[in-house]
């Protein structure tokens, strides 16, 4: 967005102001994420700057504490199961919805997407009542079910997005050549929509991995997840261990983010859309 040569002085000033504003917004976006990283090396037991010294004691405590390790184990089990369930259910549904002339498409879609629109506290409240009567409360399967409900909309959205612009004549051609539906799915459709499926899966993973509110309502000490443990780290058990945990989580998000970005570009290339 270079300024044209015929710009007036006012336009030039405005242009500079605009640039400065953008830089400030970028700082605003990124600094709060990065600020916790140095604190995780603080040698003192409180969140104070300037740091009196540098140490790895909070990483020691993080990896040495059974609670944090249990929490990671719980979170990983839940998030991986959720990813599988949400991705399979969501991909199938997106395939169905993308067929021309699906009856009541808009209405069905609104219901399927609703879990990410309805405030989580409401979902959590309903699940607390209902799962309690089913005996699912404070169990790992209960949390998996709840998180899957919250995560599938992301899969539906990303896969549907990949399917717009999907050339359905390809599947017809494959069927016409005698391929069975499953073969068509695995050999023709899946390779093409795979980037969307994978980014949906990553969204599903991060949704469950990060989710706190439902967990606050329906988890027990035994089924405590990483965000739940961090929450008590801020409120009840104040210690910089949570900054160590946060740093590790930030690294994880950078990895996921990069994967999704790469996939998105690959998908656009595959579908012939120029960015």
């Amino acid at each position: 967005m270079a300024l044209p040569a015929y710009a007036t002085p006012l336009e030039r000033k405005w242009h500079v102001a605009f640039r400065v504003l953008c830089v400030l917004v970028f700082i605003f976006l990124v600094i709060p994420v990065l600020i916790v990283i140095p604190l995780s090396f603080n040698s003192e037991a409180f969140f104070t700057f300037p740091m009196p010294g540098v140490s790895l004691r909070w990483y020691d405590e993080f990896f040495g504490s059974e609670r944090w390790m249990d929490a990671i184990k719980n979170s990983a089990t839940i998030a991986i199961s959720v990813t599988f369930l949400a991705t399979s259910l969501g991909t199938l549904a997106a395939l169905g919805l993308s067929r021309a002339g699906f009856p009541g498409r808009a209405a069905v879609m609104s219901i399927l997407i609703a879990p990410i629109i309805v405030p989580v506290v409401i979902s959590a409240l309903g699940m607390y009542f209902f799962y309690n009567t089913l005996g699912l409360i404070s169990t790992v399967p209960g949390i998996i079910l709840a998180h899957t409900a919250l995560a599938t909309p992301f899969v539906v959205i990303t896969v549907t997005a990949t399917l717009t612009g999907f050339d359905h004549s390809l599947t017809r051609a494959a069927s016409g050549l005698g391929a069975r539906p499953l073969t068509v799915f695995f050999r023709v459709i899946l390779p093409l929509i795979l980037p969307g499926v994978i980014s949906g899966a990553l969204f599903a993973f991060i949704t469950s991995w990060d989710e706190l509110i439902v967990v606050l309502f329906i988890a027990s000490p035994e089924t405590r997840t990483l965000p739940r443990q961090m929450f008590s780290g801020i409120r009840d058990q104040i210690s910089p261990t949570i900054t160590a945990a946060a740093t590790i989580l930030i690294l994880l998000s950078i990895m996921l983010l990069t994967t999704v970005e790469l996939l998105r570009r690959r998908s656009e290339k595959l579908r012939g859309i120029r960015p």
Partner: protein, 359 residues
């Protein structure tokens, strides 16, 4: 052939999903109990004094959790039939209310293995076995004396309420507990009459009116660990706290803080067992372990709370004893928190307190 490989793929996917799900089911093999307490330095002292040696001796895993003293949460568990806590560390009011309302197990002292009369007076309740004696005190950062207060240091709870002489934010517990007592004492009520006055509607209004005078300068803490955090990060210049929560940073982190022993509310904490816990025997086993005098004496080394069992005191070194709330030199103006008053009124007053906060 192609078809076969496809089926293989579907099969694999289903298999992996099933595996993920089955590994998600909780493992039942290991014996464990959930012990719930107040978090921070206090939980840490219990971990070192009881949990770690207990786990090493018995091989039973202790799962720790924190709460902020809400009665309702326990009652909800029992009412909904979803009891996931086994042993809880409660205050006296909760131990009494828990008995009345049937969400705590009645303690069989034979199973605890200690005679009731060995505990401090008021320490062997029907639904709670006293574990420590603690006090609600206030403390300040010494740096403020020179920087902010012109060389004056607060010595009484009246100073805590004196915004002119001692400007700056104060930390207070986000519950009416001890706050209403302090408000009345500062307002001129003798400590012996505090609960009689609080039992009248006018007395309550008076306490809230006194709290109003400092409301704008209060940062509220909910969990014990937050009090020390507020003081350490300079968020407040002085804070109300449970004495051990202030003592620990002074001793371990070298904080230059002073604890003021004036009109501190003395209270006990109790081990209680959740009604209908599926792990009753293990719960008793743990409470018995933690109530044995030689084990109980260990805790004072990790946090400055006094033991509730008479036979534990000889096990505690002299220099540790002097920082405990039970040390005579610290007891001058102390009052004992009236557990029966709070058992009857804590929830109603908490509601009023919440509404007052939200205004």
């Amino acid at each position: 052939m192609k078809d076969f490989s496809n089926r293989m793929r579907v099969g694999c996917l289903a298999g992996v999903a099933a595996l993920a799900l089955s590994s998600a089911l909780p493992a039942a093999a290991e014996d464990s109990i959930t012990v719930v307490s107040w978090g921070g330095a206090y939980s840490e002292s219990q971990r070192k004094a009881y949990h770690e040696p207990y786990m090493a001796e018995t091989g039973i895993k202790i799962i720790e959790a924190e709460y902020t003293g809400d009665i309702a949460q326990m009652r909800a568990m029992v009412e909904s039939g979803n009891v996931t806590w086994d042993v809880i560390d409660v205050d006296a009011a909760t131990a009494l209310a828990g008995c009345d309302q049937g969400f705590l197990e009645e303690i069989d002292y034979a199973k605890v293995g200690q005679p009731r009369d060995k505990f401090v007076v008021g320490g062997a309740l029907d639904c709670g076995v006293a574990t420590i004696v603690y006090a609600t005190v206030f403390g300040y950062d010494n740096a403020n004396v020179g920087n902010l207060w012109g060389g004056n240091a607060p010595t009484t709870i009246a100073d805590f309420y004196d915004l002119e002489k001692f400007p700056g934010k104060r930390g207070l517990y986000k519950k009416p507990f001890v706050n209403l007592e302090w408000a009345l004492i500062v307002d001129g009520v003798a400590k012996e009459d505090v609960y009689n006055v609080l039992r009248t509607p006018e007395g309550l209004d008076r306490a809230f009116a006194k709290l109003d005078t400092i409301k704008s300068q209060v940062a509220w803490w909910e969990a014990g660990a937050q009090a020390a955090e507020l003081l350490a990060t300079g968020e407040v210049v002085m804070t109300q706290a449970w004495n051990g929560r202030l003592y620990k940073p002074i001793k371990d982190e070298g904080k230059d803080w002073t604890i003021v022993w004036d009109h501190q509310g003395v209270d006990f904490d109790f081990w209680a067992i959740m009604k209908n816990t599926p792990k009753l025997d293990l719960a008793y086993q743990f409470v018995a372990y933690a109530s044995a005098p030689e084990n109980m004496a260990r805790q004072s080394n990790f946090i400055s709370y006094g033991p509730s069992h008479a036979d534990a005191i000889p096990h505690i070194p002299e220099d540790v004893l002097k920082d405990l709330p039970t040390f005579p030199g610290n007891m001058g103006t102390a009052f004992t928190v009236d557990a029966s008053f709070w058992a009857d009124n804590s929830e109603a007053l908490q509601e009023r307190f919440n509404a007052w906060l939200a205004q």
